[in-house]
Subunit: 139 residues, 6 copies
């Protein structure tokens, strides 16, 4: 069993808030992350896959194919977008980094399996000081 | 003459667009940076000052005092904010990284001179691949 | 189950030595890390916690609260300090990075549980080339 | 149980290709990584070991001794070398990062055990966007 | 006057040697960098341009256009290539990082001027510990 | 004219204080940097040299020779040392990063000239947020 990780990046706006609460109450709970005029981040995404090395090619997976899937399923939908308003797989879900990591997992799990490898983990950096990891039911 | 640089960071939303143009025309000119729903960045700001070392303290400048000025004049106004809507020193100015660097220079020049040192340069990273530098009339 | 990691930093002096041995013998065992006049590092600390995402807030844990605990329990006690002399939770313990990671774990385990999440791991960088990880009885 | 990771680096040339295939066919499979005139990388290697902390020294392992083993077994053999032609433990093996990580594992497993600790994992960065991890039969 | 820097990357093989010297003599002069079987690097390239900000767009230069020029003139010619054998603008020139920086400058100077801005400097990282800067007749 | 920069690193203890002042007064002026029990840093040193490229070798300077000088003149004297007590070229000088950069300049200027190139600048990082640059009478 071997693990490969591919890094991709996207820049997006978001806001943390509970729609049925007032702006004041949201500011109490989420602080400046709840600014109604939005703020944003350079997100760094690490997609970890696992499987067996192919004897012939020496590859676990063709990284170009993996990168293409991540671009199609995630980066095209999130880069230079507003996560709360424009990202289909985050519709109706609080735009926290935790939920973003889980949403990305569910978005990638199937197409990565169709590549012949297994999704192992998702890691999302919101800033140099904070990151979230999600491993589905694994680890 | 010695130079000290202090790094600070802020996360903000912005959009590139010319208000008198349609969204379509703005998208033609600015691409995805013109998304009407905003996007955002983790900006890294480097403030470079210069002057002579104080014989007694061995300091060019007290870095805590310098950091306090940057926080008060820039970070408090930009962090978790929308640059187009909420940043007073960017009002009516295209929210490009170029203009942001120039705006930050004008915001900091005077208070840094009052600290007894001279502002030498402003460097703003928008992403790991792009940064802007501004040196006023110097360099 | 989701994992969040928070990075904090502290700068400290330390020395590796066994008190009942002579300086010469300590230098034999620990090399230059045993310099009786101390040396120091910019330590980077990564605190990994795990738990379930709160449906309402989309959060595993409030990162401000987590950061506050780390600052109170670790950074205030270690930053700009001498680890051998001044850090209460390292009293009588060899000031190696291994022991530092274990000491930080025991310091943080309870207050982090009181936040409603579980401490998963501690990672301490002593330099860009060396780091230590401790997971308690887990992993 | 505690984990220590040591980072070392090597710069090497390599080429991905299946010898019994033509250059054209190899280019179809491996793209520009199959350039017959070679290309190269700054590889970053992370060697993770685990074990118990020695009560007397506070060490899991003497990092100088660990670094010496890595230099002798890996860096001296790979740095400023051609992986396909000159690296003994990669002879007859496709020079992919996957196989490199596995080869390094087998090269280091025994000498690290003789140091009194256990090899836990090998991590090899080929670029800032791609890395491979191998944990033997563990994890 | 404002400065923008764009980072691009390429992975390449090279060898330092004087063709009329024997391999032994080249090894004496250049050490392991003269390995006849080649070695390679992940090169990081920073292209610095300068000029005046356009009042209308807030831009010094369209970064997509700048990036396109760098890709066409440099990256397409160097990435996954052998610098000694395959890079047209390095033909007959010692493949040192110094000469690479100068070669890249001459390659980019004219097309960047045609974009309406001026090339200010070229910075090439060969490794995390070494980089070369070239400013033409400027600075 | 071309510029090459070499990075080296050292870990050291230091303390900011004016000997004729009490600990209390020093704490007022220098804050926690004045801790009488010392603290420390992982310093990063960048040595920038300039000159003309040698037509024959394609080199500005042999980087091994440059690195050897920096190790002999600076790293051997500072690494795992106490800057206030043990570093000869800092004797009687406030151990600020400003003075450290100036001291390193004077230490390196002559031996680098004897290599046939000119010292252009010294850059010292004390932490990821602060660095000092010194260019002698140049720039």
């Amino acid at each position: 069993m071997i693990y490969i990780t591919r890094r991709e990046r996207f820049n997006a706006a978001h806001r943390l808030f509970i729609p049925e609460f007032s702006d004041e109450k949201n500011l109490q709970i989420f602080g400046k992350c709840s600014n109604p005029n939005w703020h944003g981040h350079n997100y760094e995404l690490f997609v970890m896959v696992k499987g067996e090395v192919d004897k012939k090619t020496g590859f676990l997976v063709n990284l170009k194919a993996l990168s293409k899937i991540i671009k199609h399923e995630i980066i095209d939908k999130t880069d230079h977008k507003n996560i709360n308003i424009e990202v289909d797989f985050m519709k109706g879900i609080m735009a926290s980094t935790e939920n973003l990591a889980i949403g990305i997992w569910h978005q990638l799990e199937k197409p990565i399996r169709e590549l012949g490898v297994e999704l192992y983990g998702i890691k999302v950096y919101e800033s140099e000081n904070n990151f979230v990891e999600y491993f589905g039911t694994g680890r």
